[in-house]
Amino acid sequence: MDRRAFLRVGTAASAAGAGLLAGCSGLFSVQTGYREQMPPLPENRPAAVYYPSHIEGMEMVGVKTIDGNGANATSATNGTDSDGTNSSNGSGGGSGTSGGYRCALTYSYPHRFWTVTGTETEKIPIEDNDSLHLMVSVWDPATGVFPLDTNPTITVSQNGDSVTTLSPWTMLSQNMGFHTGDNLSLPGAGDYTVTVDVPPTSVRRTGSFEGRFDSQRSVEFSFTFDPGTVNDIMLDRLGEKAGTRGAVEPMEMKKMPLALAPKTGELPGRPLGTVRTGDAVFDVRALDDASRFGGTEKTYLAVSARTPHNRYVLPAMSLSATVTRGNETVFDGALQATLDPELNYHYGAGVESIESGDEIDIVVDAPPQVARHEGYETAFLKMPSRTLTVGDGSGGQ
């Protein structure tokens, strides 16, 4: 595909009489060398979140706002933003953004990552002709919340000819959290158009998110691919720290928020406890006003799942719970992935009541089905069930 796309570009250029032969000498060997530059995987990686072999920077192509009632972007910004100091959540887009999305296109150099099916990971190595790692992030301009599960489709074209189309993997990285991305091969340096089709989310939405993220939107970016710029993106080796438990700090960016779960203290409702499994952190809550979650039950049981250290939302799990009171089973069922303005992305279900002394079993039927950057690929896979007992302090009603 790389070769064909190059030939097509070459044909277009030759009409202008450009001397293509020089360019052709290296035509089929666009060796990028990223695989060779990459530090080796740390040895003895723990089955937990660990410091990766290196930290990588990124470049931003741009951020665009997509209107709620239209199909096209209304504003654009360009520029590098990998080391901002402001921890703004990228919100506050002003008028015309309610109901819409904001979408960022970013990139780094190609790197290894792991896809996940079930509890298995599949390592995706860097291929010889990979040009960059292209990433798309989509969020709600008003709240900075990511409608995770959007699975956008990207079409890269040049001079009106399609170069490649793909639906990048949903993934988690330590410095960026949730995004979608993939290693991509481009036929050469130059100007490209990147069209991003954002499908509606399939995650249940509650509160002011009801009816939001509900229709397909499309946005277009202009992108100049310069291998030199990609080469210059920061690659910071972590040395001895690599492979030990812990995580690198999240990036701070002015133009783009991170998909962070609310701090434990800021979650609504009664705290029922915090459990850890597979190195993931589950903050468990009971909300006694369950009206906005539908159903007839009075109480809403919510699990806010996040990564340790960085508090990134852990999406795309199958979670279920059993609530037992003495010999009685009060609730036994699935917790549905839900987007709520207060709880952010979480897993929840209506239950009749939750009282002091209740036992709550939380079962991970399937771990997060998102690809992982280095440092996350050994965590959040084997996730045994956990039980907590509702204490006096939070038993309430």
Partner: protein, 426 residues
């Protein structure tokens, strides 16, 4: 599509290229290159032909395990009727004569020529009366929340099919009035002056053809398509037990009894991730079901499966979605069944149209609603809502395709195939 030169092109690829290019030049090239199949002519007595246009199965080749094999070369001709309003009796007669000429020229067989003619909702809007209630022909529309296909609105679509590329090309030439003889039979009528050809789509299906034609966008340069795969994605499809029967898709009442409805989606395939990044086990899981991936049930392209994709060995889609975080394409399709049988009959084929790996997903079903129900099962919004499945990630093969065009058609019985009225006189 293979590039101009013949160098390095296998015979199969060359024939496919000629079908894709079309026209008399392609036919001449094809005739010179492909040893001309020595075919008998069609019957003199056309009353021996089936009354259902879509009654192809008994005239198809049988593969291993007696699965029906679709004809290897295809052309879809998109036709616009030249007149305003309802068609004239003369045009109807001329159309029928042109179609009968094809039937006289070649045997009604995969080894000869099989074809159908179908009509769109836009065509039937030419009549004052509406189609009878016994026909469910809906306007085409987007069927998933993440597609925005161009909607095809020709008057008619002719589907030409044969195991011989030059038979398909010859039939097309005859219909377009570009030849006076076909396989020794005089062509005394064509569609010229009745219809204008406004689009043309081509393709192929069957062992070897996808591998021979994988130099297109959407497939990695590593030539990953197995030599014995009938489809680009590397697996067999259309197992007999995973198809509706011809009886099952046939309209059973009203003036169009004996007909069926036809849906054609153009689907672009994006198989770089599929072949370069997914493991074999992931591909089997996503195409069939995670249980097949685990048990190693699928060998090679799946010939060992017999005449079904063995969905009985897979848990229900809902269970796999919840517990495996992954659901297979076949597993989702198995949710749309009646009497333990799928409700659509696939006659789809791959294509290099636009130099992109493409699937022309052509299906027959009694009602268009049967197709929309099946498609809804594939989209699986319900599963994604209730489990770890993503909108596309781990959700069958949704990640690897984009629907770009769609059209719906009524495929009338043979007796009404030439410019039928919305309410034909009985």
């Amino acid at each position: 599509m293979p590039h101009g030169t013949e160098r390095g092109l296998s015979r199969r690829a060359f024939v496919k290229a000629a079908v894709a290019i079309g026209g008399s030049a392609a036919l001449s090239a094809c005739l010179a290159r492909e040893s001309s199949p020595d075919l008998p002519q069609g019957p003199d007595d056309l009353s021996t032909l089936p009354s259902r246009q879509h009654a192809w199965n008994e005239f198809l080749a049988l593969g291993d395990n007696d699965n029906h094999l679709g004809p290897r070369h295809r052309v879809l001709l998109y036709l616009r009727y030249g007149e305003e309003g309802a068609p004239t009796r003369d045009d109807r007669r001329r159309t029928e004569r042109a179609l009968q000429a094809l039937e006289r020229a070649y045997p009604h067989s995969h080894d000869g020529l099989l074809f159908t003619v179908s009509y769109s909702p836009a065509y039937f809007a030419r009549f004052d009366e509406s189609l009878p209630e016994s026909v469910d022909l809906q306007q085409p529309k987007a069927l998933t929340p993440f597609e925005d296909p161009e909607l095809d609105r020709p008057d008619a679509v002719a589907h030409l099919a044969s195991d011989h590329g030059q038979v398909v090309l010859g039939a097309e030439e005859a219909l377009l009035g570009d030849t006076e003889k076909l396989n020794g039979v005089d062509i005394d009528a064509s569609l010229t002056g009745v219809f204008e050809r406004i689009d043309r789509r081509t393709g192929f299906v069957g062992d070897g053809l996808p591998a021979d034609n994988q130099d297109v966008q959407g497939i990695p340069d590593s030539e990953p398509v197995p030599d014995d795969s009938p489809m680009y994605m590397g697996f067999k499809s259309g197992f007999d037990k995973n198809q509706a029967t011809e009886d099952g898709v046939t309209i059973d009442a009203g003036p169009f009894a004996g007909g069926t409805t036809q849906q054609i989606s153009t689907i672009k395939l994006h198989l770089d991730q599929w072949y370069d990044q997914d493991s074999r086990s992931q591909r089997v899981g996503k195409m069939f079901c995670p249980a097949h991936a685990e048990s190693g049930a699928v060998e090679g392209v799946g010939d060992n499966l017999g005449n079904s994709s063995r969905m009985d060995d897979c848990p229900p889609a809902e269970k796999s979605a919840r517990e495996s975080g992954l659901v297979g394409h076949s597993q989702k399709a198995a949710r749309a069944r009646e009497n333990d049988r799928p409700i659509i009959l696939r006659r789809d084929f791959d294509s290099t149209d636009g130099e992109e790996a493409t699937l022309h997903f052509l299906s027959l079903q009694q009602t268009i609603a049967d197709f929309t129900d099946t498609r809804e099962s594939m989209t699986s919004t319900d599963l994604a809502e209730e489990s770890a499945l993503g909108r596309k990630n781990n959700n069958g093969i949704l990640q690897y395709m984009s629907v770009t065009r769609r059209g719906n058609y009524l495929l009338p019985p043979r007796g009404l195939r030439a410019l039928p009225a919305a309410v034909p006189r009985q």
